[in-house]
Point group: C2
Chain length 461, copies 2
């Protein structure tokens, strides 16, 4: 163990150095590293090189690593014999359109006074430059106090997160031995709703599918064929209406195999969050939760699998009316998965359900769109409890283990390719406007985020 | 009664005059009276004037009558005291695209040898110039033999049938007294499948509706809201899946009020047609009738009401995949109606069904698309039996009363506005390629069609 009595020194070093840390962040934010826009290809590389130089100046062995797309930045602290930690962040940012909705140029960052305190206003302030700099600043203060970096740190920064991460999985595969660590720390998420510190310990998986049902070999007139010929929209609708029952449960055989109820520990943490599903829904104009009966709102979005129809189309959908009996109908659907549900088995059960709903003169074609199991971290690993305690200390309120209803692909990739669990710890807020005009990051998130990492480093290294 | 013994003379006059009748038809077909194309506005009028001149030369009091669109042609034979007959046809034609699929220029008509006999090849040959000229030629021969036209004929020719007949209903309303007759003869349909002469005596009605279900006030991410927030596609699908039961019957309360089983007379005629639903479906790549169990194929398409989903759309329907939980979903649906089903009552029942399927934080908007009851002609009117016998005599096979699964708006308009039933008698064939390249009309249809009308005139005047 490091000498943890010196954590107070690291924290006060961070506090004293905040103005300079902020200047560094603003410099980083001035680089318009929009990964989806080919015109900014050079800027994306410049951001990678900026990061490499920062890390090298702290004593990391840092390099910009080319891929077929934008480069990765990889950095290592000196090799020791302790538990290795991997830190992940991304240095690319979202596009800025529509530019006219910004109050100031998105790449001219500014610290502004806002009702709830100071904020850093710029594209990328919260997603993800401000967040990744929280742990970089924690390393800097650590070095200043201890004279050296913690050993066995691996840092991985991606420049394609906002454009689908096409190079990430190949890079992980090719550099697995270099990157594998005991656990990954991913700093790209928000705190729980009201600013409560949190560690995301489970993510739902996803299996997506597209269905194309075909009946007649051409569009028919419903006057000549209506009531006699199969209508593929009706067949599709009938099949999709029976995937869930009246209680919101999926009816596919074996669907719930691997779904597990919450542990007492997580149930207690989640109950303690005071989530009010009606209030949550009221933000988007709704009132009633529609999930499985007998489940809490957070269970519905974090711990229960679900089925959703994401798109449907068939027949005439333009202005006016056509009494057409179409030749085909299509839908895109997805299942969110939890526990150890097997996407492959669910695919088979779903496709059998659709096929069974069709007469034998109609056909169906499927097109798979992703299949990833749920991620559930092993919170019995002491690192989780230590990190949770460190967060609680910093924020003076009990940190929570939370879930996420969506997938965060990087966590699944780390698990699948490198065999590591992840802790998703971030300091964003619900009102950060990431991906939208006037993105901001609270100065408090930045300052206390860096302090949080210092405490976590002290606890884990 | 006219002197019906002279029908033999009228028929032989038609036979002798066929070459000249054909020349007149070819002249008429050379006029490119495409009503949907503004460039052909003058041609449409020229066709109207051509018809007027033909009719005037036969002794009709004929005129071209302006509307806000293309003109009507109205003609009267001398006023008598017998049962008045109205004859309807349309002199406009469909567009000719794609022109490169025509074997010869569409407005350079030609009589060609074909495997089943001679055909007249041109746009409008069957739809509807060739058909309307069958009764005009019957009038001509009648005049030649009798020295005068039958009294109390009203002829109405429309130039907007292929463009939705926008002027027709106003024209009928404004000229109701002039146009009202005992019964209307509409010559714009085909013979029964294998060339059997037929009178269409019932048409299904139609009620169309559009449904827009709205849930959240914006598109949601299914990771954040899936399993908790209402999905309007799922609500729509659930509601549409329960409009019909497993036996193909519509479940709306009161839906079958006014639906009547076939009379013994019609059932016998229909059974005699030897309709094979599997063979009929095989032409479009299907095998199995899907209508109500326990009904024959012809009942399903002609005498049973039905519900069809004509279009559906919601969520993401482009390439790839988005895990969106959309704000709204839409469908266009229609009910085909029979007997005395009331479209208004069915609309209310359908809309109540949809509303009942929604939680109270979701809304639905409807947009009506037409509501017309079924048309059922009173075949106890002796005119039907007389016309049927006349057709049977001409074609040497028993004519049939048949139904039609679609609406033919003109028949409903005559009933609603002028209070008359219609006999839909036409001599088209299934392979006439109306609305398509290489439209044709069998020379046999033209010659025997004119003879059929001569016999019907003899029977009814």
């Amino acid at each position: 163990m490091q000498d943890n009595t010196r954590i107070g020194e690291v924290l006060s070093t961070l506090d004293k150095g905040l103005p300079q840390a902020l200047q560094r962040l603003l410099e980083f934010l001035r680089i318009p590293s929009i990964s989806t826009d080919p015109a900014h290809k050079g800027d994306v590389r410049r951001a990678a090189e900026w990061l490499r130089d920062e890390l090298a100046s702290l004593g990391f062995d840092a390099s910009v690593r080319d891929t077929t797309g934008h480069p990765m930045v990889v950095a290592h602290s000196p090799k020791g014999d302790r538990r290795a930690l991997l830190f992940y962040g991304h240095y690319d940012v979202q596009p800025v359109d529509p530019l006219n909705l910004w109050d100031r140029p998105p790449f001219e960052p500014e610290v502004q006074d806002a009702p709830a305190g100071k904020v850093i206003r710029a594209r990328g302030a919260a997603d993800d430059k401000g967040q990744l700099m929280t742990f970089v600043e924690a390393f800097r203060a650590w070095k200043e106090v201890h004279g050296s970096l913690p050993t066995d740190l691996v840092l991985l920064f991606e420049g394609e997160e906002e454009s689908g991460s096409p190079s990430l999985r190949p890079f992980l595969h090719e550099n697995a031995d270099e990157l594998r660590a005991g656990i990954a720390m991913i700093c790209d998420t928000s705190m729980y709703a009201d600013g409560r510190p949190a560690i995301t310990t489970q993510l739902r998986g996803l299996y997506g599918d597209e269905i194309i049902i075909r009946a007649a070999d051409r569009d028919l007139h419903s006057g000549s064929f209506g009531g006699l010929a199969a209508n593929p929209i009706q067949l599709l609708v009938n099949a999709l209406a029976t995937v869930k029952d009246a209680k919101g449960r999926v009816t596919l055989p074996g669907f719930y195999d691997g779904v597990e109820d919450l542990s007492d520990e997580l149930r207690s943490d989640w109950d303690d969050l005071g989530f009010d599903p009606s209030e949550y829904l009221s933000r988007v104009g709704l009132r009633h939760p529609v999930g499985e009966t007998g489940r809490t709102g957070l269970e519905m979005v974090w711990n229960r699998p679900t089925f959703e129809i994401n798109g449907i189309t068939g027949g005439y959908t333009g202005d006016g009316f056509k009494t057409v009996l179409p030749a085909e109908a299509r839908a895109k659907v997805s299942f969110r998965l939890t526990g150890t549900q097997d996407p492959q088995k669910i695919r088979e059960a779903f496709r059998a359900h659709i096929r069974n709903a069709l007469p034998d003169d109609c056909t169906v074609e499927f097109e798979a769109h992703g299949a990833s199991p749920a991620s559930r971290m092993d919170i019995s690993d002491p690192a989780f409890g230590l990190a949770k305690a460190a967060l609680s200390d910093e924020w003076s309120r009990e940190a929570a283990y939370i879930g996420a209803g969506g997938s965060i692909p990087i966590a699944g990739d780390f698990k699948e390719i490198l065999g590591m669990d992840s802790m998703l710890i971030g300091f964003g807020r619900d009102d950060d406007r990431i991906h939208s005009p006037n993105e901001k990051y609270d100065l408090d998130s930045f300052a206390k985020g860096a302090r949080s990492w210092a405490r976590i480093l002290a606890a884990l290294t």
